[in-house]
């Protein structure tokens, strides 16, 4: 079975005033139908760029230098305009962070959702869709305007619009980050329920490791434009292979013992201006050795995980001792 999403050695830059900024640096990714993958990364890791790239929604200053990205068999960067539009309509569904900017403030909810459905947009269908997104009283909701909705409700409408045409792939970029903490879990649950129901795959972009692990089967950690570790969520979190993943877990509040200090990762993520020839994490890595600064690590298979570190096996063995 061929993968739904396949990225190979993807190299993408943003043309800037002071030179190019390397956003994706040799990124490899595979996602099958029905899979749920969380891509975890801090700011500057390139995860939002990856999300937008899937729909070829990047701004004009973005340029793919090399590598490929194929979604449902369509090569995203080579496809013609019409093919890309069809891809966006029928195969992709996006949920972004801010629901208020995703909805047209001048149009009633009913009409917006109807438009998202395409042709088969009867009143019943629209209300049915809103009900599936666990919104109450859809018959009243269709008459309202976006500004009358709470953040959570608006995001549910966005989710309803995203799954309207039964896309094969849902891309959610920090879908609950601007929502109230108390409803985040519920909105995520709705998103996942709808994803499961429709058999679509889900790519969840987030900086929250625990949210990622809680909701997705697989987890990929992104740093400096490439994926440094990927594997089943539980495996990645309980026995992280890459020093960066370890660093993130040690720095994140929530799992420390009372009185234990959080260990931030020293330094800042790099801003690359060309593809890295060495390991991008080396300057901040506590296990750095000479080889890290000379040769870029490839992905090594460790059990069910893939880790892009020269010393992955050794580190994992060290942890287990």
């Amino acid at each position: 079975m061929s993968a739904l999403v396949e990225a190979q050695d993807l190299d993408l830059i943003y043309a800037g005033e002071t030179g190019p900024v390397q956003a994706l640096d040799g990124l490899d990714l595979t996602l099958g139908a029905g899979d749920t993958l969380a891509i975890v990364g801090e700011s500057g890791s390139g995860k939002s760029t990856l999300g937008l790239a899937m729909g070829r929604l990047l701004p004009p200053e973005a340029e793919r230098r090399s590598g490929s990205l194929t979604i449902a068999g369509t090569p995203v960067f080579e496809a013609k305009q019409e093919e890309v539009r069809r891809l966006r309509r029928e195969t992709l569904g996006f949920v972004f962070q801010n629901p208020m900017s995703a909805l047209d403030p001048t149009m009633r909810i009913g009409r917006q959702v109807a438009r998202a459905c395409g042709r088969a947009a009867s009143e019943n269908h629209v209300q049915g869709l809103l009900a599936r997104a666990e919104l109450e009283a859809p018959e009243q909701l269709v008459r309202r305007y976006p500004h009358e909705l709470s953040g959570g409700m608006a995001q549910r409408v966005v989710i309803a619009m995203a799954i309207a045409r039964g896309p094969a792939l849902l891309v959610a970029d920090e879908p609950t980050a601007s929502l109230d903490v108390s409803i985040r879990a519920k909105v995520m649950a709705t998103l996942l329920a709808l994803q499961r129901e429709s058999g679509a795959s889900l790519v969840l972009l987030t900086h929250d490791l625990h949210l990622a692990a809680r909701h997705c089967q697989s987890l990929a950690v992104m740093y400096a434009g490439r994926i440094v570790e990927t594997g089943p969520s539980a495996a990645v979190l309980s026995r992280p292979g890459h020093p960066y993943t370890k660093g993130l877990l040690a720095a994140a509040a929530g799992n420390e013992a009372p009185g234990e200090a959080l260990q931030p990762i020293p330094g800042l993520p790099p801003m690359l201006h060309k593809p890295a020839k060495d390991c991008s994490f080396a300057p901040r890595c506590p296990y750095v050795e000479r080889r890290c600064q000379e040769l870029r690590p490839g992905a090594r298979l460790l059990g069910r995980k893939q880790v892009a570190c020269h010393f992955a096996e050794r580190l994992l063995a060290g942890d287990e001792r």
């Binding site: 700011s43 903490v181 108390s182 625990h210 509040a253 929530g254 420390e256 009372p258 931030p264 990762i265």
Partner: protein, 251 residues
């Protein structure tokens, strides 16, 4: 028994809601709260629970419709009369500093407003403060636009502490930061409080960060404080069902 730096008694705050015919919003409904020097009180709750309003009351940015707010035992005066004694660190690092002023200028502003010392003493204080927050003093010459979110937030903290205030309010101060930067800032605030001894109110929706930083945590729900408990309890098992709900979200 040290007198609390800030003390709220039976405080109510309500204001007129927005929009046509909107009714009064009761943001704070009968809250008692106090913080002593050297202590950090965490304030958690969802938005709409009233935590930001409580923060404003502590800073004198809002006047209670009922009840009293006492700062150092006296009634809360105007911001001008209490200048230098209270300060604030807010959520968004991108707007924490005036983009048109060099970082150094933003940093010394509270001292200028205080009117003490001269230019030299102020710039010395700025340099000392920058080092205290782990930044190179040369950063004073740069504009905020050239800095990262974490760096800007550090400068915001430096600015908040430069007049050696007695009370610092942090309102979602680490929420917009990356995991690693957040850890750095939390550790920084912890250390600075031990060094300077200010009282602090840490408002956040993030129980994990709050639990790490604060000595006591108050949980706010619909304008009222439903539980106040020492930090340790939140590692083990808080009492109120709402607190437990918040805790479950971070496991």
């Amino acid at each position: 028994m040290t007198e609390p730096v800030i003390q709220l008694s039976e405080v109510h705050l309500s204001y007129r809601g927005r929009g046509l015919g909107a009714s009064r919003v009761e943001a704070v409904r009968g809250v008692d709260m106090e913080i002593i020097a050297g202590e950090t009180l965490g304030l958690v709750g969802e938005s709409g629970s009233g935590k930001t309003s409580l923060g404003k009351l502590c800073l004198g940015l809002a006047k209670p419709t009922n009840g009293s707010v006492r700062f150092r035992g006296r009634a809360m005066g105007t911001a001008r009369s209490l200048r230098g004694q209270r300060s604030l660190v807010l959520q968004h690092p991108e707007w924490a500093l005036n983009p048109r002023l060099r970082c150094g200028a933003s940093l010394v502003e509270p001292l200028e407003i205080l009117g003490e010392g001269d230019r030299k003493s102020r710039s010395d204080a700025a340099a000392a403060m920058l080092q205290a927050v782990g930044l190179d003093p040369s950063i004073a010459e740069r504009y905020p636009g050239a800095l990262s979110g974490g760096q800007r937030q550090r400068i915001a903290i430096a600015r908040a502490l430069i007049t050696k205030p007695e009370l610092v309010v942090f309102d979602e101060a680490v929420s917009a930061l990356d995991v690693s930067v957040q850890a750095q800032i939390l550790n920084l605030v912890k250390r600075l409080q031990v060094e300077q001894g200010f009282a602090s109110l840490f408002i956040s929706h993030d129980l994990a960060a709050t639990r790490y930083l604060c000595h006591r945590i108050a949980v706010m729900y619909r304008g009222q404080i439903v539980e106040v408990a020492p930090q340790r309890l939140f590692y083990d098992r808080p009492n109120h069902p709402y607190s437990r709900q918040l805790l479950a979200a971070i496991r």
